[in-house]
Amino acid sequence: MSRAFDGRVVIVTGGATGIGASSARAFAREGANVFILDIDVPDGERTAAEIVASGGSGSFREADVADEEAVRQAVQEIVSERGRLDVMHANAGIELAKTIADTTLEEWRRVLDINLTGVYLACRFALLEMVKQRSGAIVITASPHALVTTPDAGAYAASKGGVLALTRALALEGAPNNVRVNAVLPGGTDTPMLHREAMVASDPEAQLKRFAAIHPLNRLARPEEVAEGVLFLASEAASFVTGTALAVDGGLLAVQSGGPPLSYTD
């Protein structure tokens, strides 16, 4: 039985943990040669080893998505090694649970460097290869914060809004060469990042429950569920889908709870 990504070459940035790790595992399960880029060496190597142990093809490269040379070099090495690049999942990102009033310029730059410039770099070097081969799919991890937000996620929301506009720009650029570019908007997902966010609150467990409850499905996503959305957008099943954002958010964006806005800090 053929698998959806047999023999395909896939890069996942921020693939050491969380949504990226689930995406890497899911692409590998579907037959892809997966390359994880991350700054987290132990978790990146562990995730790649898990993929190999379960019979898949996975490897890890240390790279900071905000470092142009590192991203350029990683993409070029992978392409010269495998001869092509079929999918870029530009996923690496960080949170900052702060109001704009409390955000220093240094913090602002760090969030924008990783979440927006990092996506630009990963997508730019991927697009250059994909345009040459006249095929490819890019999936970007954005966030519902691109559209609705909380009072203490200013820099994060701005970075994700930028990423969504970048998705559309890249989609228009890639379309004449059959390169599709889409975003996923994950709702609250049960990842190490979310648990770190919840630690800001006085009662982290209660905070996680409140996170879950703002989603109409009344639970958090498993990272595997977000990964399935990424795989769909990257797959041939989505061959007429480009420039759009798929909410994998348990109904968060469509159905307003009417409750008070959720804050990371309580």
Partner: protein, 257 residues
């Protein structure tokens, strides 16, 4: 995303199944192992499609009727209840693009009613009749349109109906979320369906119109009914288990420029 037989053991109801998107969805769902209850206005086409899918080994019922008619919507749900006792996947696809075209002041009230009666009331009636048969884990897919978000010249009434049906899908998602049932909308752009072909063939300049349609999306082609069917399958299965209230645009990028 595993391959093949992804709807084995599932009961799927598809409205508007006699041509275009609905027919492609019925064919793909049959291939994926679903038991089908199909609805459509044209009994000849419905019977022929059912017979063909049965000959390939599928369990298929066809109910002739108009989704905008309460008795027909109830009959479709009753057929699913009688044959299977439940519905796992409900695809509310039936819709019309014509009549009702032109600037709003030229549209006769009966044409407005026909468009809304099918595209909005028909979706609501079928969902309403099917709601008691949907259990935890069931998935509803509503066929909206890129016209749920944007308006093209001459399509004011159609676009209003597709805007309404998107909001209906979101509201149903909220209503059904506590029962663990998901509702999502598919929003296609210009696709190469029999309706589009009819539009091309009856245009003053068919070749020019076809080229115009192909150039409409940044991907520089029309979509296919099969591409709509594959997106419907994603929303119908556990692959989209955390998607509800989502609208999936499948328009080749047409609405981003």
């Amino acid at each position: 995303m595993t391959s093949s037989q992804r709807l084995k053991g599932k009961v799927a109801v598809v409205t508007g199944a006699t041509s275009g998107f609905g027919e492609a969805i019925a064919r793909l769902f049959a291939t994926e192992g679903a038991a089908l209850v199909l609805g459509g206005r044209r009994s000849g086409a419905g019977d022929a499609l059912s017979a063909e899918l049965r000959s390939l080994g599928a369990d298929v019922q066809f109910v002739a009727g108009d989704v905008g008619n309460e008795r027909d919507a109830d009959a479709l749900a009753a057929c699913a209840r009688g044959a299977h006792g439940r519905i796992d996947v409900l695809v509310l696809n039936a819709g019309i693009g014509y009549p009702g075209t032109g600037p709003f002041w030229e549209v006769p009230p009966q044409e407005f009613d026909l468009v809304f009666g099918t595209n909005v009331r028909g979706v609501w009636l079928c969902a309403r009749a099917a709601a008691p048969l949907l259990g935890r884990g069931a998935s509803v897919v509503v066929m909206a349109s890129m016209s749920s978000f944007v308006v093209y010249p001459g399509e004011t009434v159609y676009s209003a109906s597709k805007g309404a049906v998107l909001q209906l899908a979101r509201g149903m998602a909220g209503d059904l979320a506590p029962r663990g049932i998901r509702v999502n909308a598919l929003c296609p752009g210009i696709c190469d369906t029999p309706l589009t072909r009819w539009f091309i063939d009856t245009a003053d300049d068919p070749t020019g119109t076809e080229a115009e349609f192909a150039a409409f999306a940044p991907l520089e082609r029309m979509g296919t009914a099969d591409e709509i069917a594959r997106a419907t399958l994603f929303l119908a299965t556990e692959d989209s288990s955390y998607c509800t209230g989502s609208s999936l645009l499948i328009d080749g990028g047409a609405t981003i420029r």
